[in-house]
């Protein structure tokens, strides 16, 4: 039986978790050029279902429907499969699944995609069922071969055993016969108390290749006769090419062609440097008539004017207006302006196109929404979608950048490929400058907050107005603008949260933790100010406003305990705390900060407590908290994309879009709350609390609340 035969024969949908089993993988995704590393098993791989293949060499290869860009789905999803398959960890492998919006749908989205810290959460039962199904098929095959009842067969650490007869085998010997077994309709899953792999610090499946230089990313795909193309983009959002002169560009050694596309001017080279040098030699006149010509400062001034206009209501409980009219109140006000933020993944956006002999096209890219990439590329290349195969590759980070409705990046890349035509493979790549200046930023936001404290020191009212672009391009309320504020965890009797959508020619996008990047900061710094005003300790005061049984309170108490919150920090240091729920995970952080020799905040230590339900791989959870803290800290200290006078984008590379460096990284301690709740994600939730925790410490140190981000640029301006 070939894989093709297998595809057609059995298609079964399991009710409930939506597991599609018995749908084999067409072998074509293994065709064309190089595949990503780590590779699956080396043996003859037999598909047990859409997610699991067992090799005759005993390897078990998990097809990850989620892209691996450091957050750990290869290891996490393989752990879930291995647990129910009773495999040995050393036999597990993982690869990216092919593109299929149905079979490989993110169950939280309804189409294939990675985001919202949802990989483990949506795959938790699905992957366990995939493992349990494969196990049952192996057992059935062994039972038939050994002529013993299936119920007498046990599986442990990758060995199939029948105690009474003394028969024993690895998985590989039964891979072929298991593949033709009828999968069970509803495989039984383990009771969590019987887990042997889930909850352990299993070593990651992709570490070795990422340590010896053999891991293949999109940029590393180099088929023969490859052309490399870069595009000259405008320095103003909304600008288009008025005219261009490519005379000098075409003289550059190795430049093959120059083409105008909607996004700019594409230069094609025999190698990367030829394309880059050719691009530098272009002379382009841009038409700015429809471009954004306002500066960031001018935009901020316009944002603030919306505060006095009626907004879109997100939350309105109690009677805020009446509460603010009470006698004897203290009111506290704050306005905070957040800048545009670029994601700046280490690997800028890129894609490789290879035409097959039959005219179909393989695309290799770090596809976060591969189905969209496929649809967009098929349209631009004038091919049927079935003739375009998106082969997801390991990606050098994303932080939200590669998850885009309508795949605007793929529109450019496919247009560059289509414009030159021909049969040569093509790599389209962005440089760091394209990346920093390419838009799709975390939008700029302005928040206005007002709090009321009554004569008895109780916080009686909270009003918050949020102004910024709608990431979801909505005319009405966009929940991603207000999440974290509209569902304020603190019990304040009168709460009103409104928002205003601003439209700009600067394309917005979600950025690691989405709305919580700004609401977490605004809420957690403002509640801290209110608590200071009423003389409450930041931890005790928050706990008094929280439901004591809440998971917010649980992580807050844990972080306080870890940091010995009541103790006096060393001379010159102060501590700040913040607690934020995002994507169903709860994170509290305590940051210990001093004023550094350059006058900027120096963060010495961060204590972090996380509650993300069942901890599938504690080591990965800790790594995501460490990384989230570093990513969030870098942004709050240093990062802004700003538009200067006339709307020109002012930053271009890592020298002026700063990233945190090793000498600025605090020591981090992470503890995970033990939980039997279903697992929730960890890719994003480590980010939101660090900014406000540092800002709260900074206010203690300097008496100056942080009203504009990043902290360091305000100090230098």
């Amino acid at each position: 039986m070939t894989l093709h035969d297998f595809t057609a024969t059995r298609r079964t949908f399991l009710a409930g978790a939506g597991l599609v089993i018995g749908v084999a993988i067409a072998p074509r995704f293994l065709s064309a050029a190089p595949t990503g590393v780590p590779a699956g098993g080396a043996g003859d791989l037999k598909p047990m279902n859409a997610f699991v293949k067992i090799g005759t060499d005993d390897t078990v290869t998990v097809l990850s429907k989620h892209i691996e860009f450091g957050q750990g789905p290869f290891t996490g999803l393989a752990t879930l499969v291995a647990e129910e398959l009773d495999a040995e960890w050393s036999q597990m492998r993982a690869v990216h699944s092919p593109t299929d919006n149905k079979i490989y749908a993110n169950l939280a989205f309804g189409l294939q995609g990675t985001g919202g810290s949802s990989s483990i959460a949506n795959a938790y039962e699905q992957m366990r069922k995939a493992g349990a199904t494969a196990r049952a098929m192996l057992v059935a095959a062994a039972a038939a071969e050994w002529k013993v009842p299936a119920a007498e067969i046990t599986v442990e650490k990758g060995r199939i055993k029948h105690a009474a007869s003394g028969k024993e085998s690895g998985f590989g010997a039964f891979a072929d016969k298991a593949a033709s077994q009828t999968p069970p309709a509803d495989p039984k899953l383990k009771d969590p108390k019987d887990f042997v792999l889930i909850g352990r610090d299993l070593p990651k499946l992709d570490t070795r290749e990422k340590t010896n230089g053999t891991a293949i990313f999109t940029l590393d795909i180099m088929p023969d006769r490859l052309l490399t193309a870069v595009v000259a983009h405008p320095k103003h959002f909304g600008a288009v090419v008025k005219s261009f002169d490519d005379t000098d560009a075409r003289k550059v050694m190795g430049v093959v062609d120059v083409k105008k596309i909607a996004q700019g001017i594409a230069v094609y080279g025999e190698n990367t440097f030829a394309a880059l040098k050719g691009r530098d030699a272009l002379r382009i006149e841009w038409d700015l008539s429809k471009a954004e010509t306002r500066s960031s400062a001018e935009l901020a001034a316009e944002y603030v004017r919306h505060f006095d206009e009626p907004g879109l209501e997100a939350t309105n409980t109690g009677d805020v207006a009446a509460a603010f009219r009470q006698q004897g109140l203290q009111t506290v006000e704050a306005q905070i302006v957040f800048p545009f933020l670029a994601h700046a993944p280490m690997e800028p956006l890129d894609a490789v196109f290879i035409k097959a002999a039959d005219g179909s096209v393989d695309i290799y890219n770090g596809a976060q929404f591969p189905g969209f990439d496929q649809q967009v590329a098929a349209k631009i290349l004038a091919l049927d979608e079935t003739k375009v195969r998106v082969n997801t590759q390991l990606a050098g980070g994303s932080f939200g950048r590669k998850a885009q409705f309508g795949s605007p990046y793929m529109q450019e890349a496919a247009s560059v490929y289509a414009a030159i035509g021909g049969d040569r493979p093509l790599k389209h790549m962005w440089t760091r400058e394209d990346d920093i200046q390419g838009g799709f930023y975390r939008p700029m936001y302005a928040h206005k907050m007002r709090g009321a404290i009554d004569a008895d020191g109780r916080i009686t009212a909270w009003e918050q107005i949020i102004v910024g672009q709608s990431i979801m391009a909505k005319a009405d309320l966009d929940s991603t603008s207000v999440e974290g504020a509209s569902n304020l965890p603190y019990r304040i009797p009168n709460l009103k949260v409104t928002s205003h959508n601003v439209t700009l020619p600067i394309p917005p996008l979600w950025w690691r933790s989405v709305g919580h990047t700004h609401t977490g900061f605004a809420v957690e710094t403002f509640v801290d100010e209110l608590l200071t005003r009423v003389g409450r300790d930041p931890v005790d005061g928050r706990l008094a406003l929280l439901d004591p049984a809440s998971r917010h309170a649980g992580v807050l108490r844990k972080a306080a305990e870890m940091s010995d919150w009541g103790a006096t920090p060393a001379e010159g240091r102060a501590r700040g705390v913040a607690v934020v729920e995002s994507f169903g995970s709860f994170v509290a952080q305590v940051a210990e900060v001093s004023v550094g020799p350059d006058g900027a905040p120096r963060v010495h230590k961060v204590w972090c407590a996380v509650d993300c339900g069942v901890a599938v791989n504690p080591n990965i959870i800790k790594a995501q908290m460490e990384g989230g803290i570093g990513y969030g800290l870098g942004a709050v200290l240093f990062d802004a994309v700003t538009l200067g006078k006339g709307g020109r984008i002012m930053q271009s590379n890592f020298h002026d879009y700063r990233s945190i460096r090793i000498n600025e990284m605090p020591d981090v301690a992470v503890e995970i709350i033990r939980s039997t709740e279903k697992p929730t994600g960890v890719g994003e939730p480590g980010v939101p609390p660090i900014g406000p925790a540092v800002a709260n410490a900074w206010r203690k140190l300097t008496n100056a609340p942080v009203r504009q981000l990043p902290i360091v640029s305000i100090m230098s301006s």
Partner: protein, 152 residues
């Protein structure tokens, strides 16, 4: 014509002499462990060893390295390299992994010069290597672990 040694083998290059070493290594020699991240020596993803010293290959024109010895992540060897890679694996340092070749090249060069570095010495040697996943906490720990393992 530029002649140099790459991972122990003599190589020649007769293309555009302005071509940075990074693109010679990647596009012409097809060694892809060395990465592009910024092109302006701000991120360290392109770090190689040039005559034994860490060098940002993205700003090193090929014409300037005639007669030099270049080692990339694919060619590193010796006790420091082994100790660093073992320590990296032991702590599962990489997340997305894209910057890690450069991190490891810088770390190996550090240990070759300073067998048991302090935190300040680690900062001094590693500050030029960005990691947007911010794996710094583990990089530091792994360098200490590697140093300790070589002492024994």
């Amino acid at each position: 014509m530029v002649t140099f040694t790459l991972n122990g083998k003599e190589r020649t290059f007769d293309g555009d002499p302005d071509t940075p070493l990074l693109w010679v290594i990647r596009d012409f020699e097809k060694l892809t462990g060395t990465k592009y991240g910024c092109g302006v020596a701000q991120c360290g993803a392109c770090t190689v060893h040039l005559d034994g010293m860490p060098r940002r290959s993205c700003i090193t024109p090929i014409a300037t390295i005639d007669g030099s010895d270049v080692v990339t992540i694919e060619g590193i060897s010796g006790k420091e390299a082994e100790a660093v890679q073992t320590a990296w694996t032991g702590l599962d340092v990489p997340q997305c992994g894209y910057c890690q070749s450069g991190q490891i090249m810088s770390a190996v060069a550090l240990l070759q010069m300073v067998p048991n570095p302090t935190d300040d010495e680690i900062d001094g040697a590693m500050t030029g290597n960005l990691c947007r996943c911010a794996t710094y906490h583990r990089i530091r720990a792994a360098i200490h672990n590697a140093a300790n393992s070589m002492e024994g």
